[in-house]
């Protein structure tokens, strides 16, 4: 479902160039449940952002479902990102002026789902991640781990073929983390969802089928 060839990323800050990724070659089959490990600053978030079509690589190529992303228009890329990819951000990135419920429901609006179906799916995923009782709260009125689970619910609600998760269990106690990992595995089993998960949490990586390691922007 996802392939990269000689992928590189250089951040430019004025004169300074920061090589965040170097020559990354990946080939992920649909249904993979993969952990991406590596020290702080090694390039995990950068790689996930590029795989999730949120950022563009500097060099090399990216293939999504066998189409070369470089050949697509910005409009087509946005369409793929909305329909096919769920993203759990390291900083959660919840919309501060929308309630938990509205934050999680939002991706379904982009899909023209009926009102009744939208309501059922939103309540269902909120219950599954354990934050249903906070549906009306604004994001700044809940705990860190609750925010994390709202971000997870929002990424999962459309059951997209690819889910990219950046440190999804960082703020969760072990019981809650286990429930979330179970939920991810259930989705993978039921919908053949592919998961790419940046994590330094052993509770998470030991439940992945494969571990990819990054160091200083390069694959080990």
């Amino acid at each position: 479902i996802l392939q990269t060839k000689n992928l590189g990323k250089i951040y430019e800050m004025g004169e300074i160039k920061i090589p965040a990724l170097k020559d990354i070659n990946l080939d992920l089959k649909a249904g993979s449940f993969v952990a991406l490990e590596g020290p702080s600053g090694s390039g995990k978030s950068t790689l996930l952002n590029i795989c999730g079509l949120l950022d563009k690589q500097t060099t090399g190529e990216l293939f999504f479902n066998d189409s070369n992303i470089t050949d697509l228009t910005a409009k087509q890329i946005t369409q793929i990102r909305r329909d096919k990819i769920g993203f759990i951000f390291q900083g959660f990135n919840l919309v501060p002026v929308m309630s938990v419920y509205d934050n999680v429901e939002y991706p379904l609006f982009l899909n023209n789902v009926s009102n009744k179906k939208r309501r059922l799916q939103t309540i269902d995923i909120l219950k599954k991640v354990g934050v249903a009782e906070y549906a009306k709260h604004l994001p700044d009125k809940i705990s860190g781990g609750q925010k994390q689970r709202v971000a997870i619910a929002r990424a999962l609600i459309k059951k997209p073929p690819l889910i990219i998760a950046d440190e999804p269990t960082a703020n969760l106690d072990t019981k809650t983390a286990t429930d979330i990992i179970d939920l991810m595995h259930q989705m993978a089993a039921e919908y053949k969802t592919t998961f790419i998960i940046a994590t330094h949490d052993k509770r998470m990586s030991q439940r992945c089928d494969k571990i990819i390691k990054l160091e200083d922007g390069a694959l080990k």
Copy 2:
């Protein structure tokens, strides 16, 4: 150094009352290195915010260095918070328009430290947490674990008698987390700093002298 008696906190959201803390009794001696554990939503951040004088309890009393906080003026409380307490926030809370260097140096301005001394102390702590090379970056141009370490450096720089840390290792790989925990222990040994650390990270809590457990806002 810190004591609470029958401490309670109720968040009010219109009609709804959320009892986040119930009847908390604590007595921490100077130099303690304490972990605060508990499930997501159990009240850890709420308790830390009250102990760090960032929020007020609804019921009960809080004593800092034996003075009852309820007897102090808002001005006095702000003074104590600035001089005596370093806080590492669960969401980092870095100032987005200031560089990493400026974010970390900032607490020293409130202390009338000389320019030269401020520079030495800032560079020293940035090196100790391993983010010195990012000194000129804005906070949104570094990795999650690097942001976490900037937040840590900012709390530690004044070597305050009390440091309150909310999930300080959540975004750190094991090697980096170990270095940070070593640094905290060095400070505790050298300056008799008291640490209260909310965490669900076993790598952190197993290196604390004492573990306090919260469940549904109450001590277990």
